[in-house]
Amino acid sequence: MVNRFDAELARGLRPVSAPDRLWDCLETRLDAVDTIVYAPPRWPLWALALAVAATIALFCFTLRSDTTSYMAKLAAGELSDKRQVEFRSGDPAEIRAWVKAKAGLEIALPAEASVELVGVSLIGGMACVSYRVGTREGKLLVAHGGSAVPQHPRLEHAVYRGAALSSWAMLGQTYALAWSNPQDSHGACVLCHVD
């Protein structure tokens, strides 16, 4: 009995050929999903964007590091070079006005009465303020550009050619300081800060 039904079932349920229009119907629907399924994955774009951003950040960091490093060494060079200042004055207001007029830079000077201002020079668009505290000399180089933070963090000092060097950026300007007494590097800070 089962064998007899097997034959009837096989005959009744025999395979058939698919109609030719099946592909035509399918193809229009494939077009709709094609762009979704085979759209190029987006992760390479994100990876590329991330790589570009990282490169730019690294370039800026390196550039900034190079700039501050260059400025600090330049300030040290100015410290050892005993040439005359371009604008000699002991008046903080005069120096501030001269720097503002000549280089468009803002410098707030000084905070301590013990600071003796000598004058200021322009070096390639940067202002170099010369000052003394007692027998020690200092040079402060100021340039456009850098971080816009309102105040700098606690500074680390390095010694270069017998001078204490430090550099920082704030309020959109970059600063480098060279001080002639490496043993008392914080003595230079009285130019702007009350001790």
Partner: protein, 191 residues
Amino acid sequence: MVLDGAERELIESCQRGERDSFRALFETHKDKVYSIALRYSGDEAEAMDIAQETFLKLFSCIRSYRGEANFESWLYRLVVNSCLDQKRRGRRLLPLVDELAAVLHAAGEGVLHTLLRAELSERVRAVVGGLAPEHRIVVVLRYTQGLSYEEIADALECSAGTVASRLNRAHKILERRLAHLVQARGGRSGQ
């Protein structure tokens, strides 16, 4: 069955999104897919929908095919799921006109005999169409594609024992519903 080099290459090019390769894959398997769809649904329009859904699924997820499973089994799973997902619409038998056309074109047989055979085949399909989906799909895979219990189990993701049980149940129903037709033909159906 292990993929041969040509089929593997064809599938890999489909995975790269090459439409011509997908067309070739479609041509290879379209009759199989459509036959299952038609014998399961009993309706040409519905079979077209099921077949399209199956190939759309294949197109969408062929990238996830890693070659661990037999490709044909994988395809059977897709068509089975499409069949079972298809909402039960008002199923109808294949148009009688198609059967009559087949009868008129049949040569070398008596018209009465051919009509009886056509009637029996149609009745078989009607009875199969009345089975519960889980029984019907087993019968279709067994008799339309000639799959073994293990192959059906693979396609349905169940055990071979479950397949045997469902097929046995389906046979009993079919026996009950078809017996009078077979008897009416005087036992000639097995010829």
